[in-house]
C-alpha cells in the first residue's frame, strides 16, 4: 500500500466560496453519431490542483481530456481556462499541454530537440531555447541524455522526457493521459512521488485521467469519478472513499461489501437497518436522510470489519460465518467468509499475530463485527 505522499493541505479552494475556479467546464456534451460519450458534465478545477478523472474504460474520461486539449470539439457546452473561453480554439493556440499515454516522442529528433520543440514554435532565440531545455532536463534528471534519440531510452526515461516537453512551455493546464499505466510496479510508486514533487515545485495545474483508483488516490488533490459519460462524484480521496454517494462509487473505489436492507428504526442520531442479505441488523450511529421503509444499501469496507472466534456481544453489527478462502499478502490477509444466508463477505485485517497456530484459518467458525460508525448508507 503506497503511503500518503503529501502533508495535510491547509488550503482547500473548493471549499472556499470566494475562490474563483481556474478551469470551468460548463455543461459539456460530446456525441459521436448516436453515441453520447460525455453527457452534460460540469466541473470546477482550481489553480495548483491535481485533479483526477477516474473511471473504467468507455466512461468518457479520455474524451473529456481531449476536449480540454482541443482535439475534440464539444457538441454542446463551453470550457473556460483562466477566465477565457477556449471552446473552439485549436490545440496549437491553447495554453494547455498534454502528456500522451504512449509519450508520443518524435522518433527522428533527439531528446533536446523533442523538449525544445514547443519553444521553437514560439520563435524564441536559439540560445534561450537551449538554456531552458537544459534547465528542464535537469529538473526531470535527464540532463545526460540530451543528445540521445527516443529509441535509445527506457520506458521510464521516455516518460520523463515527455513530461519535460509538456512542462517547458509553462502551460496553464497540464493534461496527463494514464501517466503511470506503462510502468512496472516499483517504477510506478517512484514516479508517483516524482510527479507530485514536480507539480508542487512548478505550481502547474494538473488534470490526470486514470482507471487505477490507487493511482488516483495517491496523486490527486481531488477525484472526479466518471461513469457512462457523467461525473458521479467529486471529492478528495478520503471523501470519495469513506463517503461514496452511490453504489457505483462505493464499488469502484476500493473494494466494498454491499448489503441491501430496509430501515426499521429511523432516528435523528441513529438508524437501524434490517438486511436479509446479511442475515442481521446494522446499527449506524448517525442519522440518514432516506424515506422510511425505503430500500437502502449498506456499504461496509473490508478493513473495517473485525474477525474473531469470540461470539457476538449484541444483536446489531455482528454476524456469524465460515472462513472459506484466505489470501495472504504479508502485511494483511484477506478472508472470504461465507454467511449462512449465502452471501460472501470480504474482510481485510492486518496480520497482527505471528504464530500460525493462533491465526484464523480455513473452515474456522468466526464472528464478524464492526463499529456503528463504520458502515455507509447509500440510497442509489
Amino acid at each position: 500500500m503506497a503511503p500518503q505522499a503529501r502533508p495535510e493541505k491547509k488550503i482547500e479552494p473548493w471549499n472556499d466560496p470566494n475562490a474563483a475556479p481556474y478551469v470551468r467546464i460548463e455543461r459539456i456534451t460530446k456525441k459521436f453519431g448516436d453515441f453520447t460519450a460525455v453527457n452534460d458534465v460540469s466541473l470546477k478545477i482550481y489553480k495548483g490542483e491535481i485533479f483526477c478523472l477516474l473511471g473504467g474504460s468507455g466512461c468518457g474520461k479520455t474524451t473529456l481530456l481531449r476536449m480540454l486539449a482541443g482535439f475534440e470539439l464539444p457538441t454542446a457546452g463551453s470550457i473556460f481556462i483562466d477566465g477565457q473561453d477556449m471552446t473552439g480554439i485549436p490545440p496549437y493556440e491553447r495554453p494547455v499541454n498534454m502528456m500522451f499515454q504512449s509519450y508520443a516522442l518524435f522518433p527522428h529528433m533527439s531528446v533536446e530537440k523533442n523538449v525544445g520543440f514547443g519553444l521553437e514554435q514560439e520563435r524564441l532565440p536559439g540560445a534561450e531555447i537551449r538554456k531552458r531545455v537544459a534547465d528542464m532536463l535537469a529538473i526531470v534528471k535527464m540532463g545526460e541524455y540530451s543528445k540521445r534519440k527516443p529509441h535509445q531510452l527506457s520506458g521510464g526515461q521516455r516518460q520523463r522526457v515527455a513530461l519535460a516537453r509538456a512542462l517547458i512551455k509553462q502551460p496553464k493546464l497540464l493534461l496527463l493521459d494514464e501517466p503511470l499505466g506503462a510502468l512496472d510496479k516499483k517504477l510506478r510508486e517512484h514516479t508517483q512521488f516524482e510527479l507530485v514533487n514536480i507539480q508542487e515545485e512548478l505550481g502547474v495545474t494538473f488534470v490526470v485521467v486514470t482507471h487505477d483508483q490507487e493511482e488516483a488516490m495517491t496523486l490527486s488533490s481531488r477525484i472526479g469519478v466518471m461513469n457512462h459519460g457523467e461525473i458521479v462524484q467529486v471529492g478528495t480521496a478520503a471523501e470519495v472513499y469513506e463517503f461514496p454517494n452511490s453504489r457505483f462509487v462505493a464499488d469502484f473505489v476500493g473494494s466494498v461489501n454491499m448489503f441491501e436492507g430496509r430501515m426499521i428504526d429511523d432516528e435523528p442520531d441513529y438508524v437501524r437497518i434490517q438486511s436479509d442479505e446479511l442475515g442481521g441488523t446494522v446499527l449506524i450511529d448517525h442519522g440518514v436522510s432516506a424515506a422510511p421503509s425505503a430500500t437502502v444499501w449498506v456499504a461496509l469496507r473490508p478493513e473495517k470489519i473485525m474477525i474473531s472466534r469470540d461470539p457476538c456481544e449484541g444483536p446489531d453489527n455482528c454476524v456469524r460465518g465460515v472462513v472459506k478462502d484466505i489470501a495472504y499478502h504479508g502485511d494483511l490477509s484477506t478472508y472470504l467468509v461465507h454467511l449462512p444466508v449465502g452471501k460472501i463477505v470480504r474482510v481485510t485485517q492486518p496480520n497482527v499475530v505471528r504464530k500460525a497456530e493462533a491465526r484464523i484459518t480455513w473452515e474456522d467458525q468466526v464472528y464478524l463485527h464492526w463499529h456503528a460508525s463504520s458502515p455507509v448508507v447509500v440510497t442509489q
Partner: protein, 330 residues
C-alpha cells in the same frame, strides 16, 4: 527565429516550406477565398483530385464520345459529333455502327471471349503456383523471409518487356528448351511452342506471378499463428486446420491478387504480340491493331468501351477490397 546552429539544414528547409505555405494561407488573396468557403484543406484535396479528373476520368468520356463518331480521312481521323445544321439547331449524330460492327464481326466477339478465358485460367494458374510460394515464404524463418521477398520483387523491377523477350529465345523451335529435350532424347522432333496458346499462358503467368504472390504473402504473414496452435490443441489435424482456418482468413489476399492478375491480363498486349500468333486473339492486341494498323479510331474506341463495360464489375470489386484493406488498418 531560432538562431544559428539550433536547426539542421533539413529542418530549416522543412520549416521554411511550412512558413511559406503559412504565408500563402495568411495572404489577403487566400483570406478572400477563405471567406467564400475555400479552406487550406480544400486546396490539398483539390490538387490530386483535379489532376485525376482531367487526366483519368475525362479521357474516358472522350473515348465514349469518339466511339459514337464516324471514321473519316484527316487529322484527327474522325468526324465531329455535333454540327451546326442552321443558326439555331445543332445535330448530334450518334453513330452506332461501330458497336454494331463489334457484335457482327466474329473476330471481336471471339477475341473478347478468348481474352476472358485466357485471363481466367492464367489467374487460376498463378493462384495454384503463387499460393504455395507465398505460404512457404510466410512460414519461413524470419531471417529468410526478407531475402525471399527480395527475390520475388527483383524480377518485378527488371524490365517486363525484356523478361517476355527472354522466353522467345527459350521457346523457339531451335531454342534452349527444345535443345535440352532433344539432347535428353525425350522428343524426336522439336516442339512448336511459340505462337501457341501455351506460350501465352506461360508468358502471362510468368509476368504476373509477383502480383499474385505479394498480396498473398502480405496477408499470410500477418496471420496470427496462435490460431493454428489453438486448433491443434483442440484436436484438428494440420491439413484440416489449413482448409478451415488459414484458407478462409487468406481470402482477402486471394481476391486482391486474383484481380491484380485478371483485369490487366484481359487487356494484355505485349505478350500476345511477342509470344502469340494470328490464332491467339486477345482483345488488347485487337485494339492496338485497330488503332495503329487500320487507323480506325472510332472502332478502337468502341473496343475500349466494350472492354471497360466487361471489366467494370471486377474493377469495382477491386476498389472495394482495396478500400477495406486501407480502412482495416485503423
Amino acid at each position: 527565429m531560432a538562431g544559428q546552429g539550433y536547426l539542421t539544414v533539413g529542418e530549416r528547409i522543412s520549416v521554411s516550406l511550412a512558413r511559406f505555405l503559412h504565408g500563402i494561407v495568411s495572404s489577403p488573396a487566400y483570406r478572400w477565398l477563405r471567406r467564400h468557403g475555400f479552406r487550406g484543406r480544400g486546396l490539398v484535396i483539390a490538387i490530386p483530385y483535379l489532376w485525376l479528373l482531367s487526366f483519368f476520368v475525362i479521357p474516358f468520356v472522350i473515348v465514349l464520345k469518339i466511339s459514337f463518331s464516324e471514321t473519316q480521312l484527316g487529322i484527327p481521323p474522325y468526324a465531329p459529333l455535333w454540327q451546326w445544321v442552321s443558326e439555331q439547331a445543332v445535330a448530334i449524330k450518334l453513330n452506332l455502327a461501330n458497336f454494331m460492327f463489334l457484335f457482327e464481326d466474329r473476330l471481336y466477339y471471339s477475341a473478347y471471349l478468348n481474352s476472358m478465358k485466357i485471363a481466367f485460367f492464367s489467374t487460376l494458374l498463378c493462384l495454384l503456383i503463387g499460393y504455395p510460394m507465398a505460404y512457404g515464404m510466410a512460414r519461413a524463418p524470419a531471417a529468410w523471409r526478407n531475402v525471399l521477398v527480395m527475390l520475388v520483387i527483383l524480377p518485378f523491377w527488371t524490365s517486363f518487356l525484356l523478361r517476355v523477350y527472354a522466353w522467345i529465345a527459350m521457346l523457339r523451335t531451335d531454342g534452349v528448351i527444345n535443345d535440352v529435350l532433344l539432347f535428353l532424347g525425350v522428343i524426336d522432333q522439336p516442339l512448336v511452342m511459340l505462337q501457341t496458346d501455351f506460350a501465352i499462358y506461360l508468358g502471362i503467368v510468368y509476368s504476373y506471378l509477383p502480383f499474385m504472390v505479394l498480396p498473398l504473402y502480405a496477408n499470410l504473414e500477418k496471420m496470427d499463428l496462435t490460431l493454428l496452435e489453438a486448433a491443434a490443441d483442440l484436436g484438428c489435424r494440420p491439413a484440416k486446420a489449413f482448409l478451415r482456418i488459414t484458407l478462409p482468413l487468406s481470402f482477402g489476399g486471394i481476391l486482391a491478387g486474383s484481380l491484380l492478375v485478371f483485369v490487366p491480363a484481359v487487356g494484355e498486349f505485349v505478350i500476345p504480340a511477342l509470344l502469340g500468333g494470328p490464332d491467339q486473339l486477345m482483345i488488347g492486341r485487337v485494339l492496338w491493331d485497330e488503332f495503329f494498323l487500320n487507323r480506325d479510331w472510332p472502332v478502337a474506341s468502341a473496343v475500349a468501351i466494350a472492354m471497360l463495360v466487361l471489366l467494370v464489375a471486377p474493377i469495382m470489386i477491386f476498389n472495394y477490397v482495396q478500400g477495406r484493406q486501407m480502412g482495416a488498418h485503423r
